[in-house]
């Protein structure tokens, strides 16, 4: 039995009220679907006194709108995104990633915003207070050492959200609202390499939605995920690719890999591949570069050496699959 610590729950009924509540109560945290924050609160991972519950905003923030670009509200559920016809057409890799998040009950409860803001995960932190106390606390909460990187001064807990690599590869932007107004930010500038707080989101800011530019719809998209069981489990690795192909040649390619460290990684230096033929050699080359840049750690309880070995295999297969699909409808 794991009870929640005492908290106060605020229930705003608009985005404006929500950010006001966040500003008024320093240290407060957002509760969307609760599938990540509730277990973490039970583990004693936060000293939060106030939760700002977003249930009352579902009318405002649960939209899927195709207006030139694709606009998705932060409170769309993962299950909704997995089944939505427009998303399956414009962003099939996003629908695929969502269908592989957790299990069916969790997909119905969990939201897009919660997924993008998911707290980083580590075998040494997602444990009861008793467990963590017995081993010795770590940097992320209550301690001074890291159990993953000996002598490490920075938490490297893993970004474990399945929508992040897809939306990074597809070039999505996010909308953020605070009492100071609204700002839009490329998702690639959202994540930080700090496992304690791995986004640039300030305490009084709310992620209200994302925008997927329409040029993404015409890209060949792919998603792949490694996990121990085919359901429920968080990713041991996840990845996504977006390929722009014209007459059999690559116009642009982006590849993102998650479940490594705190920041989902966009594989760097792929521009020289533009102009190459979109064939098996390209898949092999992307796999090679991803293998070189990605170093799985012991923050996830699945053998890092094995994860490193299968990573290029998954990349190669995913790229081949994506290249073979017809470009999504624009």
């Amino acid at each position: 039995m794991m009870t929640l610590p005492p908290v106060e729950v605020l229930r705003p009924s608009s985005v404006a009220e929500a950010v006001e509540a966040l500003q008024k109560h320093p240290g407060s945290r957002v509760l969307a679907g609760g599938t990540d924050i509730v277990p973490n609160l039970k583990y004693g991972m936060y000293d939060t006194q106030h939760l700002v519950a977003l249930r009352g905003l579902s009318k405002e923030l649960r939209y899927v709108r195709l207006q030139n670009d694709l606009h998705l509200g932060a409170l769309c559920t993962i299950d909704q995104l997995a089944h939505d016809e427009t998303i399956r057409r414009c962003a099939p890799a996003l629908a695929e990633a969502c269908s592989q998040v957790a299990g069916p009950q969790l997909r119905r409860m969990g939201t897009l915003g919660g997924n993008l803001c998911l707290d980083t995960r580590c075998v040494y932190i997602n444990q009861s207070y008793f467990w963590r106390n017995a081993l010795g606390f770590c940097l992320k909460k209550d301690g001074t050492v890291c159990h993953v990187v000996a002598g490490g001064q920075r938490c490297v807990a893993a970004a474990s959200n399945d929508t992040a690599p897809v939306l990074l590869a597809l070039g999505a932007t996010i909308k953020i609202v605070s009492p100071r107004g609204e700002r839009e930010l490329p998702l690639r500038d959202f994540y930080l390499a700090d496992g304690i707080h791995n986004t640039v989101l300030r305490p009084d800011e709310l992620l209200t939605g994302i925008r997927l530019p329409k040029d993404a719809f015409a890209k060949r998209q792919g998603f792949a995920k490694l996990r121990t069981r085919a359901a429920i489990d968080f990713p041991s690795l996840n990845m996504a690719v977006a390929l722009e192909i014209e007459k059999g040649t690559v116009k642009s390619v982006s590849l993102a890999v998650g479940a490594l460290a705190a920041r989902p990684a966009l594989i760097k230096g792929l521009d020289d591949l533009n102009g190459q033929k979109a064939d098996a050699r390209l898949a092999e080359e992307l796999a090679r570069r991803a293998h070189k840049q990605c170093k799985p750690l012991t923050n996830i309880g699945v053998d890092p050496d094995w994860r490193r070995d299968v990573l290029p295999v998954l990349v190669r297969r995913m790229v081949l699959r994506a290249a073979a699909t017809a470009a999504a409808a624009s």
Binding site: M1, E8, G34, P39, G103, Q105, L106, R108, M109
Partner: protein, 185 residues
Amino acid sequence: MPGKSATIRLHVNGEEHTLAVPVQRTLLEALRYDLGLTGSKQGCDKGDCGACTVLADGEAILSCITLAADAQDRKITTIEGLASPAGLDPVQRAFADCGALQCGFCQPGMMLSARALLNTCAHPSLAQIKDALSGNLCRCTGYTKIYEAVQVAAGMRGPASRQPVASERAPASDSVAHAVKEIVP
């Protein structure tokens, strides 16, 4: 610090309840400890296992990570509410007929996930059944009979009548090795 308490109204199995509970009370705790409905199981209490699955407006959700206050505007069905005065739900009947259980701990959640599936899809494929139940762990049965039970509940087949597994008869234990020596004090 005991924290604040709140008055909430829950609609469970067709009955309205008004409860005074701590603000951070989960739906599972309210069901089990305030309403005495212990059919919903407290397995992991952190969203992993599905033993606490209940229906909220017909949708399977996890009650251990849902705040009780967030369930107020939804009609909750627990395993206690699955049977009607007319008798067991076909899902319950089928699980019993198929022997789709061993220790039984996963069953309330399993049956509610199955009910939610059949409400939206009367004749699911095996793949759909597996997917719908993939958030419910069973540590005993190996799932085969559970999937079978869902098909039986959907009226797609009858319970399998299995022949006992034919195996070589093991030699009677007193004919081999360890003839017990009489211990003489």
